[in-house]
Symmetry: C2
Subunit: 612 residues, 2 copies
Amino acid sequence: MRNFRQLLFGKPLRSEEAAHERLPKWKALSIFSSDALSSVGYGPEQIIITLAASGMLVYGYFGYATIAVLALLTIVTLSYVQVARANPGGGGSYSIALHHLGETPALTAAAALVADYVLTVAVSVSSGTEALVSAFPDLIGWEVPVDLAVLVLILTIINLRGVRESSNIFVWPTYFFMFGILSMLGTGIYQALTGTAPLVPAESLVRQEADWVVILLVLRAFANGCSSMTGIEAISNGVPMFKEPGVTNAIKTTYVMSILLGLMIAGISFLFIHVHLLPADHVTMLSQLAEQTFGRGWVYYYIQLTTMLILYLAANTAYNGLPPLLSIMARDAYVPRYLAAKGERLGYSNGILFLTLISSVLIVIFQGNVEHLISLYAIGVFLSFTIAQTSLVVKWTKEREAGWQSRTILNGFGASITAIVVIVIAVTKFIHGAWIVLFFIPAMIAIFRAIHRHYQIAASQLHISTEEFISQLQVSNPKNLIIVPVSDITQIVAATIRYAKALGGDVIVLHIYTDEAAYRQFAAKWESLKLDLPLHAIYSPYRSTVQPILSYVSELEMHKSIYHYITIVIPEFETARWWHRLLHNQTGWILRTLLILRDNIIVSTLPYHFKE
Amino acid sequence: MRNFRQLLFGKPLRSEEAAHERLPKWKALSIFSSDALSSVGYGPEQIIITLAASGMLVYGYFGYATIAVLALLTIVTLSYVQVARANPGGGGSYSIALHHLGETPALTAAAALVADYVLTVAVSVSSGTEALVSAFPDLIGWEVPVDLAVLVLILTIINLRGVRESSNIFVWPTYFFMFGILSMLGTGIYQALTGTAPLVPAESLVRQEADWVVILLVLRAFANGCSSMTGIEAISNGVPMFKEPGVTNAIKTTYVMSILLGLMIAGISFLFIHVHLLPADHVTMLSQLAEQTFGRGWVYYYIQLTTMLILYLAANTAYNGLPPLLSIMARDAYVPRYLAAKGERLGYSNGILFLTLISSVLIVIFQGNVEHLISLYAIGVFLSFTIAQTSLVVKWTKEREAGWQSRTILNGFGASITAIVVIVIAVTKFIHGAWIVLFFIPAMIAIFRAIHRHYQIAASQLHISTEEFISQLQVSNPKNLIIVPVSDITQIVAATIRYAKALGGDVIVLHIYTDEAAYRQFAAKWESLKLDLPLHAIYSPYRSTVQPILSYVSELEMHKSIYHYITIVIPEFETARWWHRLLHNQTGWILRTLLILRDNIIVSTLPYHFKE
């Protein structure tokens, strides 16, 4: 058992082995941006799906939706540079909001972040598998099993092993992916300009008249497209991991990441329009584009596999993000305390398992369908964007450091825009799944509060002053009544009574009987032992042994004026083979379980081991 | 909870409330014969299924197979009259065999009986549902859910409530059923004789040449037909329930039952041949016959519903048979002892639940298919017939009472014939499922023996002489070391230490820490309390609190020269709401579970109740 665990998860690490390594920019870029950059694997496609799937093709508006997304990207980037500057110590929107806005916004941000991280895993894993299935259509129908295998067998185990974030295996896929996509964009645009690419029929780009239905569709397409921006906050949360000067390096890296992301979105969108691609079942549009550009050769497979890899890696970033967030919240007592505990390999094992569990459930419920998951996704992200920037506005206006006015304006503008995006998404995607998130965020907040309240009450109940502690221990000579249930005269009874006598206190031997004749025989035998232990016998008309003991104890409790404690000593059989246990009734176990629920009754379990 | 249970199962009954009522013959006939008589609901059909379903129709042999079944019925009846005579005290073939033949035959009979009872439930419930579905084809596809509902919601609850066997609700269905079937046979035969019934084309009765394939088919048909005889042993096991003179009344009732059964089998078979019916999916042949005879009017529905009722009732007889058998075996220590315990309503609840569980599994595995279940059924029945009669042969030759020769011959002949039937069934039905029973019977015997061995060994390990018992208790002043794991200074720790001090023994306070600074703070605080309790602190590099405590205890055990006992006092949080429990780590519970597995470590659980 232990060996198997060590094989899977590696040997336990001592607390001293926790290491902190600072990253150069080129490594940080790849590690922190896999989530954001991988979004191009589904973002642009999600815009077209909305525009093309509604029985009316409003392809001509694709360009506008994309431009709106790019504009928003610029705003969010500039705002998040401020976040990095304001929080050189790291910590996401939960910490910032708790500090500057108070509990409710902080818990809202936390709930949004939890939803965000869980959906990052579900969406990224599902998209990664779609990239894989596009290349290998034999896998059609196996998407959900592949998703779960990646989640449970790869991501969970890697994270329970606690491979360092900075490990090189996380660095290269991002560069491989960037290289592939940029090559494809270069080739595609070259083909477009030199005319070897297929021509788009001009009429397909004609825009229908902009009535309300069309406007709603375009807004919904934009809402879907906003999923391209998820993950952009990662760098600002990770400032402490950058080489000095951390803030400057983080800011530079943010700019590089956003420019790369913008270029990819723009390039992919341009080619989608130019080649006039449409969504298809079981083949992603990125896969269609790669096939169109390079044919189904090794370059195509390279692009599909690096896309798959970076998407799975993006899921991994949630494993780096959610468990530490939960551990911070656990220390603040908003989630169960044990989410703060580091496991054998110094990872937050409980948080890791929590993330795997919830995202597996999501994948199974939504059958790994990216389109449906996306509807839930962007709203949480933009909600936490809004809260983080609002916190900054409060911070700037409070602290009034040099240049605070322009910063306030910048973040205020960012907050307003992202707030509008939240509303757009909530309205246009409401029936498509946004309601789920809008229901769960308040539910989560309520749960966080209930947990917090319980811990506060528990703490106040457990609190004791030094004086009271000392005085409690000075109660003179507390008296203990010890009850030994006995059914027959056996080795185990001898051992139990012997132990009971070793405890300081008065011992009562309790005998429950269902048969008068058998009882008289037992009583005579007991008499002949001439022990100075009082035997108390109780007739059980309903043949239960547990119930009469419970009643007897209750009765004693009511009259236990002279006793401080009632201790029941219960032997516990330990059989030599597991199945032997099935042959003995579980009265001891049942009794123990029921008695523990009582106040003031102490249950002492005395092991008795069968030799064979 | 308690109220709901009482609503479902009735209020608990006192041991004194067990009642014994003796039955008049007319009641006994109906109560004991529902199993046997209901067999006509599937027996004759099972013969035809074999003859018709093999790609070749050997319908012409149906009459022969039926005549063989009737001849066998006569022999078995005469033999079982002897069983009733030999065992006025009741008790089935297990008790007889244990008394006259020894352990192995008795366990074989027991295993066969267990298989028999379980299959009686599975076959009867499935057949009852088939009768229902024949009348109401809308239920097609819902057979298994209906079966399970009848099993769990009706049979199990009725039997856990412990409705008396003699209750009138069990008396009337049998008579209703007999009335319906006999009316149908009368009408059908009248129609046949007066020529209003359809004529059978003469060529259909032509027999093919009797090659080996045909002989095997006919033998297999006969083996299937033997299922008509199941349940015939019921009366001889129930002699003590008859009014005086019990034996005479039981014998008379047996004859009446057998004659009724024989008449029904003969009549139904005659009409099957005459009307030339063939098996069909989802409609039993008895249903076809009833429809043919009466049309689909209320008489038809009367026959279907009484057939359904008597079949479900037949399943109920297994509930009257198996739990008492298991309780006798439990007293002989061949099955877990708690199968001997009477429940709140004086029924053998554990046996009842066991029967429901196993027969549900069978129904689910075989999808409620009577034809497949029948293959498993008859072999167990005839095996126990054979053993019972062999036991009688031994008894007669040993006791040599008046007329022993003729009895020996009768039972010897019966035993030989039923043994041949066992072989015929085993051979002809081997691949159809008989192998399952032939595998499980030895497996069950092995299990019975293993259980018996364990109880013997356990008893010898638990045995103690009076002198030894007294001397064990006279060990002078055993010393107890008490360990209190402490993580902080709280109310609960105060309560725990206070209790520990009330026990006679030396107290050690054990502190596990993972953080050096936090430990120093705690140690200083502890110092300031100035208690005369030694604090033992252990650093846990891998952050587990359980592991260091276990290691510490192991180390102590190795050096515990002066201590007889090591007691660990563990507080147990009891939260006010169930979900609060999820907010506390389960270290106490884990520690308790792991420590109980150790020898010589006593775990004392001190409850601490949160008020809210």
